[in-house]
């Protein structure tokens, strides 16, 4: 230690506390000026202490699980009674369900029911909202090699989102049903009317071409119509809402504002192929009539 005179050392010792108080004031000012620095230092300390906190939490969790198990053991008798009753009830419902399934299968067999092909789908995450002022579309990161084609249907957990319009190497662009160029044929579930849902870049697409003598009912469900290829009937789209009399809009079920994970469905092209009209002779193309029944010598040379 550096030899100092006693008076000087006492003066220094008396200065320590004021200096530290000034330092504390400085720290307050620094913390107000640069909040991120404080957060970084605090997170650093928390990272250091995290294992120790884990050691503190572990015995608590063990004790809690032990207590819970002991409590469960106390309740085991009542629980058994309840489970037995519930099991009997469920067994009854299982029998009912099995009987109904059998009945359904036999009815379908009698009707020569053709089951719908189950669609294949690819799940992807919405990586970017490419909506601008004039378009509503999102980019979905999905493995395109898994077989995503143009015009496939995109659904989220609750309803129709849109259609695939462009395909990149790792992502696909999906035109949302709210886009101004989106036209989807829909069916109204209660009034049984058909209409076209036309997007207008707002959150609620308009409903156009609905039957005038059978107007949509406020609150009824809107599902897809199945009149266009690749889109099966009955997919949930939204709900009717009248913004003002005579102007019905569709409130989409899908949360188009914040899409996260969506599924791209392949329902197969032209699910319902119309048969050729009976009694009509297939039209011959003019080129066919000119073809010669024997190979032309001119073409050989």
């Amino acid at each position: 230690m550096i030899p100092l005179s006693i008076t000087l050392r006492q003066a220094l010792e008396r200065l320590v506390l004021p200096i530290l108080i000034v330092a504390a004031l400085g720290i307050i000012l620094l913390g107000q000026a640069d909040r991120s620095l404080t957060e970084r230092v605090r997170m650093g300390l928390a990272d250091i202490l995290a294992p120790a906190y884990g050691l503190v939490v572990w015995p608590q969790e063990q004790a809690r699980t032990l207590l819970d198990r002991m409590r469960d053991m106390g309740r085991i008798e009542a629980e058994n009674q309840r489970l037995r009753a519930e099991n009997a009830n469920l067994r009854h419902w299982y029998d009912v369900a099995a009987a109904l399934a059998d009945e359904n299968a036999s009815l379908k067999a009698n009707l020569h029911w053709m089951p719908d092909p189950s669609p294949s789908f690819v799940t992807g995450r919405v990586v970017r909202d490419t909506s601008g002022l004039y378009a509503r579309s999102v980019l979905v990161a999905a493995n395109v090699d898994a077989g995503i084609h143009k015009d496939e249907i995109v659904l989220d957990g609750s309803g129709l989102v849109g259609r695939v319009t462009e395909i990149g190497s790792r992502s696909v662009r999906v035109l949302l049903i709210t886009d101004a160029s989106s036209r989807i044929p829909v069916r109204l579930e209660v009034s049984h009317g058909a209409a076209i849902m036309a997007g207008d870049n707002s959150g609620t697409p308009r409903l156009i071409y609905y039957p005038q003598d059978n107007p949509p009912i406020e609150g009824e469900r809107v599902v897809t119509n199945g009149e266009i290829d690749t889109m099966p009937p009955g997919l949930p789209v939204g709900q009717i809402h009248y913004v003002r009399p005579g102007q019905p809009v569709v409130i989409p079920f899908a949360s188009l504002g914040h899409l996260d994970i969506v599924r791209v469905f392949d329902y197969g092209r032209s699910t319902v192929v119309p048969p050729d009209a009976p009694g009509r002779i297939p039209v011959r193309r003019p080129a066919d009539s000119l073809s010669l029944p024997f190979p032309s010598p001119l073409r050989r040379g």
Binding site: V16, A24, I28, G31, L45, V56, V57
Partner: protein, 187 residues
């Protein structure tokens, strides 16, 4: 309790203390600060004890006040500064507030220690109640000013009451400690 350095009881010529003895003295002198830091760490650990967040300032202020009055060598200003920094880093309030409060309590205790250390325990309790009331009010005012809105004062009142209620209990613990394991003269 005997003060840390009592020259009249120590002979002028002493044998040079061995390494172990010096370590012993050092650890006994540092025990109050280490225990306080440990209490701060434990009280900021996720125990889920009700009132844990309000308990921390009470224990910290009691410890700093007690040791600053009775043994400033064990609770010197830099040590108080480090404890304040630790509390501020473990907490989520505006940084530096608890640090300033603790340093001011330490300063008050140091300036009045000759009167306080001779006072009766009940009088000391009253003094601590006053000092910690001022400290808590300052803390509330600073936090309100720095976050630009009035923080509900009821939590701070609870914190003050808890600290004042804990002080006699901690006094007993600390003075027992100061006579036995935290006494450098016993090394």
């Amino acid at each position: 309790m005997t003060p840390d350095q009592a020259p009249e009881f120590q002979p002028g010529i002493q044998p040079r203390p061995s390494l172990w003895r010096r370590l012993d003295i050092l650890s006994r002198r540092g025990l109050p600060a280490v225990l306080t830091a440990l209490a701060v760490l434990l009280l900021s650990a996720p125990f889920g004890v009700p009132g844990q967040a309000e308990l921390l300032p009470g224990i910290l202020l009691s410890s700093v006040f007690f040791w600053s009055v009775f043994r400033p060598a064990s609770m010197s200003s830099p040590i108080v500064f480090l404890l304040g920094i630790l509390v501020d880093l473990l907490g989520f309030g505006p940084p530096g507030v608890m640090l300033l409060v603790v340093l001011l309590v330490h300063g008050v205790a140091l300036s009045g220690r000759y009167g306080f250390s001779r006072a009766h325990i009940l009088l000391l309790w009253l003094v601590f109640a006053g000092v910690s009331l001022g400290a808590t009010a300052l803390q509330w005012g600073l936090i309100s000013a720095l976050s630009l809105h009035l923080v509900p004062a009821i939590a701070f009142a609870f914190q003050w009451v808890l600290g004042v209620g804990l002080f006699p209990l901690l006094c007993v613990v600390f003075s027992t400690m100061g006579r036995s394991i935290a006494n450098p003269d016993r090394a």
